[in-house]
C-alpha cells in the first residue's frame, strides 16, 4: 500500500509574500498530502537540505520577486549534485511565459501563475508526484 506524499513548500530568496505558499500548503494538507513549510528567506541550499532530511517526494517553490530564474536553477543544480533528481520540483509565482519554458527545460515539472485554481494544483500533485512505498 502506497504511503502519503510528502511535499516541502519553500520560499527561496528574500521575497516575503507567502500568501500563495500558505494557501497551497493548506490545500495540499487538506488533500491528504504531508506538507513541510520552510518559512521565509531560505537559500536554495537550505531548501534542498530540508527536502533531503524530510525524505520529500516533491518540492514546491513560490517566488513573486522575479528571482525565479536564478533560484529555481540553483535548486535544480543542487538536487542533481545531491543525486536527488527524482524529487519532483514545481512552483508558482509571477513568472513570464518565456521564463516558464526555460525553467521547464531545466527539469522543473510545472509552474503555476496567478489565478490558477488551487484544485488544479492539488490534482496535479496527486497525478504527477509518485507515491512513496509505505515503509
Amino acid at each position: 500500500m502506497p504511503g502519503r506524499i510528502r511535499v516541502v513548500i519553500g520560499k527561496p530568496g528574500l521575497d516575503g509574500h507567502d500568501r500563495g505558499a500558505k494557501v497551497i500548503a493548506r490545500a495540499l494538507r487538506d488533500a491528504g498530502v504531508e506538507v513541510i513549510y520552510t518559512g521565509l528567506h531560505q537559500t536554495p541550499a537550505q531548501i534542498v537540505s530540508t527536502a533531503l532530511q524530510e525524505d520529500a517526494d516533491a518540492i514546491g517553490l513560490s517566488i513573486l520577486s522575479g528571482a525565479h530564474s536564478t533560484l529555481f536553477a540553483e535548486v535544480m543544480r543542487l538536487l542533481h549534485a545531491e543525486d536527488a533528481a527524482d524529487i519532483v520540483v514545481f512552483g508558482g509565482g509571477i513568472i513570464p511565459p518565456a521564463d516558464i519554458e526555460a525553467l521547464q527545460a531545466l527539469g522543473v515539472a510545472a509552474l503555476f501563475t496567478p489565478g490558477t485554481p488551487i484544485g488544479t494544483i492539488t490534482d496535479w500533485v496527486r497525478d504527477n508526484v509518485p507515491r512513496p512505498v509505505a515503509g
Binding site: Y37, S65, E74
Partner: protein
Amino acid sequence: MAYESESGLPVAPVYGPDMPAGWRAAEKLGEPGSYPFTRGVYPTMYTGKPWTMRQYAGFGDAAESNARYRELIANGTNGLSVAFDLPTQMGHDSDAELARGEVGKVGVAIDSLDDMRVLFDGIPLDRVSTSMTINSPAAVLLLLYQRVAAEQGTSGDQLTGTIQNDVLKEYIARGTYIFPPRQSLRLVADIFRYCRAEIPRWNTISISGYHMAEAGASPAQEIAFTLANGIEYVRTAIAAGMDVDEFAPRLSFFFVARTTILEEVAKFRAARRIWARVMKEEFGATNPRSTMLRFHTQTAGVQLTAQQPEINLVRVTLQGLAAVLGGTQSLHTNSFDEAIALPTAKSARLALRTQQVLAFESDVTSTVDPFAGSYVIEALTDELEAAITALMQRVADAGGAVSAIERGLQKAEIERNAYQIALRTDAGERTVVGVNRFVIDQEEPYEPLRVDPAGEARQVKRLAAVRAGRSESRVQLALSHLKRAAEGRENVLYPMRTALDERATVGEICNALRTVWGAYVPPDTL
C-alpha cells in the same frame, strides 16, 4: 440570501432613511475637515486640487530608475514613490549571498551614497515630494536622501515626503523584517525624534494595511490591525518622552482599494472616524492635525489577473474610483500587466492616465464626500466601525499589537481569510472575470518588461569600486560608534549619518545593528 460583504457583513437589498436611535449627523459625520473627519480631512478636499498622483516605481540600477522618474514627472505625476529591491529592503548589500538573483528585481538597488546620488540626479528635491517604501532600513535611506538633497542645496526643513518605516506590519504580512519587534520600535522612536529636529515636514511613518490586504485580510481586518499598530507606535513615542501633538501630525497611513466600491468607501470613512476618536480620547491629542487620518492608497494588486490582462485596466479604474470617493490624499494605480511582470513604460503611463481621467474628466472631484448621506454608505460605515473596533479590542486584549504579533494572532487571522477566499473562488462562489467565468480558450501572448540580467554583476562592480575608494579604518570606526549607540540609548541616526558619509554601505550598517539587536525569527506555522 443576502449579499455578504468582503468583511462578512450582510448587505441588505434596500436601505432606507431609518437610522439607528441616537444617530446624529453632526456627531457621526461632522463637517468636512473637522472632527471626527468622517467626510474627509480637509474642508475643500479635491475641489481645490486633486489628490497627489504618486506612482510607485523602481527597478534595475539607479540610472534606470532615475530615467523612469524623469519620465513620470514629464507625464504629469506630482510625487515620486521609490521601490527598492529586496536586498536593500532587507539590509543586504548587492554582493551578499542572499542577494543572488534579487538585485534590481522588484525595485532599485541602493548600496551606498553613490547610488542615491544617481537615483535623484536632476530631480529637484525642494519641489518634488518623495515616498520611499523602506521599513527596517528606513533610517539609512532617509539619511542618504537628506544628504543628496543637501548636496543639491536643499535643507532638511524644505524636504517633504514619506518613509514607510512601518515594521510591525512586516511581521504580520510583508516579511521584510530584520530586527525583533521591540528593537525595531526603538529605531522608529529614534527616527521620530531625528525628524522632529532635522526634517520637520517629513512623514515619519506610513502605517500600512495594504500589505495585510494583499496577504488576504478583509477590509475590517486591514483597518483594525493597522490602527492597532498605529496605537503601538503612538505608545512607543510617548514612552520615549515625546508629546503626542509633537509627532502625531506627521503620522500617515496606507490602505488598499478593492473593486468593491461601496464597502471600500465606507471603510475609509470608518477608519478616519475611529482614528480621530482614539487620538482624542485615548491619547488626549489637542492639535486637530494629530487626529486626522491622512492616507495613501494603492489599488489592489492581488485582484489583478494574468489571464486577459487588459481587464485589469477596468479593475484599476473601479479601485481608483473607490479610493477617491473614500477621500484619499494620494493614489497609486497599478499597471494592467503587474500579474505578469513589472510594468512596461506604456502600461505605467496608462496607469497614470487612469488617475488623470478620474481627476480631470469625471465629476467626482466637484464636491466633497459625494456618498455622504447615502443610506447604504452611512449604514455600512457604522457597521464597519463596529466590526473594526471589536477586532481592535481583540488585539488590545492580547496585550497590544506587539504581543499579538509575537503570538501570531494577526497573521493567523489573515491566512485563514486568504484560504477561505481561495476555496470560494475555486468553488465558483466568487467571480473572477477571465479566470473562473468568461474565460477564453487561448490567451493572447504578452511581451512583458525584462530586467537586464547583467544588471546584478554591474551593481556588484559598482559596490566594489565604492569599497575600494574609501578609508576602511574610518568606516570601521564609524560603525563601532553606531554599535555603541545601539547598545545604549543615544539616537542611532547621528552615528549612522557619519558612517554613511564615510561610505559605509546599507548592508554594513544593517549588519552592525544585527550584531547588537539580533535578527527576528518568526513563530511561523501552518
